[in-house]
């Protein structure tokens, strides 16, 4: 335990003076902020020029204007879709930086095992992503209050927030593959490339009807971004496929770091 604690403290220290930390918070905050702007414009349609694209877009929003639809539309769907990109970026930074900074060799022959160092990195990854999730929730609630959105019922809000957190956790779990690509590719390029491919596939595969078995589509489907019909197709095999994908990514990352040559 002490080994993990010391590895964790060293990882925490590495985040000091990092501008990238705040950039991810700003980037992720754009989701509820943009959602708030759309909500505001729906409330005040006279502010939009009639023939603009925005006016057409807003006219397509069929959801009711209340806190629950705002939270599920712009928070949960943000976590399920934008989260794959932002959390993936966080993982690629945390695991790829040692190669980018050329410091990875300093982590290999230490009294703390290599596995513990990776576990500490995963802990930081989870905390960082949960920080993003919580900050977006706070921003979302503040915006909801500022917009005077109706529906501040404790039970319904709790249900919506639960979906938001489950969606976020499903998305965070998929970061194990990003960490593997960061170590295997020795830097940021491979995980970012993998991310681009996977985001495209996550959009495309549901059209083929297999989205509920494709791990990277599951968070988006779960939060309702792909519609209630698709959400109802999620079953235990869907969640198992995501779980085993996460575990496989984790095992590959640990094995690579532990056994591959680090020249």
């Amino acid at each position: 335990m002490n080994e993990l604690k010391r590895a964790f403290l060293s990882e925490l220290l590495k985040l000091k003076h990092l501008s990238i930390l705040w950039i991810t918070f700003i980037a992720f905050a754009l989701v509820p902020i943009m959602g708030g702007v759309i909500m505001f414009l729906i409330q005040n349609p006279e502010l939009i020029p009639k023939s603009s694209i925005l006016s057409i877009k807003i006219s397509m929003v069929s959801a009711p204007i209340n806190l629950v639809s705002y939270l599920s539309l712009y928070l949960s769907q943000g976590a399920g879709v934008v989260g794959i990109i932002v959390f993936g970026f966080v993982a690629s930074y945390l695991f790829g930086r040692e190669y980018s900074d050329h410091t990875y060799r300093d982590l290999l022959s230490l009294p703390i095992s290599r596995t513990k160092i990776l576990k500490a990195k995963y802990l930081i990854y989870i905390i960082w992503c949960l920080g993003l999730v919580i900050s977006d929730l706070i921003i979302g609630l503040i915006i909801g209050k500022m917009l005077n959105l109706s529906g501040w019922e404790y039970r319904i809000i709790f249900e919506t927030i639960k979906i938001y957190f489950v969606t976020s956790l499903l998305t965070i779990a998929l970061g194990t593959w990003i960490s593997f690509f960061a170590l295997w590719g020795k830097g940021y390029l491979s995980p970012i490339g993998f991310l681009v491919v996977i985001v495209m596939l996550a959009q495309f595969i549901p059209y083929l009807g297999w989205g509920h078995y494709f791990p990277w589509s599951i968070p988006g489907i779960y939060c309702g971004a792909a519609g209630e019909g698709l959400k109802n197709r999620l079953n235990e095999w869907s969640y198992l496929s995501l779980f085993f994908t996460c575990i496989l990514g984790y095992l590959l990352t640990i094995s690579w770091w532990k056994y591959a040559d680090q020249p």
Binding site: K14, R105, D106, L107, L110, P111, D261, P263
Partner: protein
């Protein structure tokens, strides 16, 4: 117990044999210089000694323990492999704190002590990205020495240091060695290694072609007596009559190879003066480590 034991180390990268059946032993307190051209296999060997690269064949023991079998003595080892790098966003002190945690050290004073010892006091709050190459190298050495290891594996530790810094590090390494720290060092500054090493090994094309203690090196280097007189042809004739083999080199100076004469140059000087061939120049030339190294690898290629 030997500090380093490596037996039959071989590393193949597909068709390339980077290290070919190397065996070496390093005694406690020894300063072992590892010399070779670029691509000779120095860095690959050092990385195998540190467990960063798995040998295709062979075993590495540090302090008598196999590094691949639950090795738990990494805190007795300090290493610097090739160029030194640090976290650019962290200050000197914060960088050392990272390794203070990773080495599971308890005494925070170790950080301040090493900062002072390596002359980084004025830079301790400067971010690594703003440091000069020399100070980055000092920070790298601080990371290596902070936990007071018994074995140092240093790959090009003098890189980027100015002459004063090189002397400072050399003296520090000598002092550590006197206190029984074993040092395994590779450097391309052979003159520095010559001032430091107690044992030298030469690696060429992946093979260990020479390993010798420093006093053996003294015996193996070529020595010549160089003489210049007002009439070198007459002086050569004179030496021939005395049964001393000599010849004229490309700088038109006389070279004498006889070890008896080389060890007593004053005798030959007296003879030459007495025959009216008073030397203008007379000195003993001794092959340095650089020349010895080049000669050794050329001999190996032949």
């Amino acid at each position: 117990m030997k500090t380093i034991e490596a037996y039959n180390l071989t590393k193949k990268f597909k068709d390339l044999i980077a290290v070919n059946n190397i065996s070496l032993e390093v005694e406690p307190g020894e300063i072992y210089a590892f010399v070779g051209l670029n691509g000779a296999g120095k860095t690959t060997t050092i990385r195998m000694l540190l467990g960063m690269i798995k040998p295709t064949q062979g075993t590495v023991l540090l302090f008598g323990k196999n590094i691949r079998k639950n090795f738990d003595l990494w805190n007795e080892v300090g290493y610097l492999v090739e160029a030194t790098y640090s976290y650019p966003n962290l200050t000197v002190k914060e960088n050392l704190e990272v390794y203070w945690h990773l080495r599971r050290l308890k005494d925070k004073k170790l950080i301040d002590n090493i900062i002072e010892r390596l002359g980084l006091l004025n830079y301790q709050n400067i971010k690594a990205k703003h440091l000069s190459l020399g100070n980055l190298q000092r920070l790298g050495l601080a990371k290596v020495l902070m936990h007071q290891p018994k074995l140092l594996l240093l790959d090009e530790p003098m890189n980027g240091l100015d002459p004063a810094g090189i002397i400072e590090i050399r003296e520090m390494l000598k002092k550590l060695s006197r206190n029984d720290t074993t040092i395994f060092i590779s450097s391309h500054i052979l003159s520095e290694l010559a001032k430091l090493a107690t044992k030298i090994s030469i690696i060429h094309k992946g093979k260990l072609i020479k390993e010798l203690k420093f006093d053996e090196l003294e015996r193996q280097v070529i020595k010549r007596l160089i003489i210049e007189t007002p009439d070198n042809s007459k002086a050569i004739e004179f030496l021939k009559n005395k049964n001393i083999p000599s010849n004229i080199n490309e700088k038109n100076m006389i070279e004498v190879y006889d070890s008896k004469v080389i060890n007593r140059p004053e005798t030959i000087c007296e003879w030459l003066v007495s025959t009216g061939l008073t030397p203008r120049t007379l000195y003993v030339f001794e092959e340095d480590l650089e020349a010895f190294f080049i000669r050794t690898i050329k001999t190996d290629e032949v």
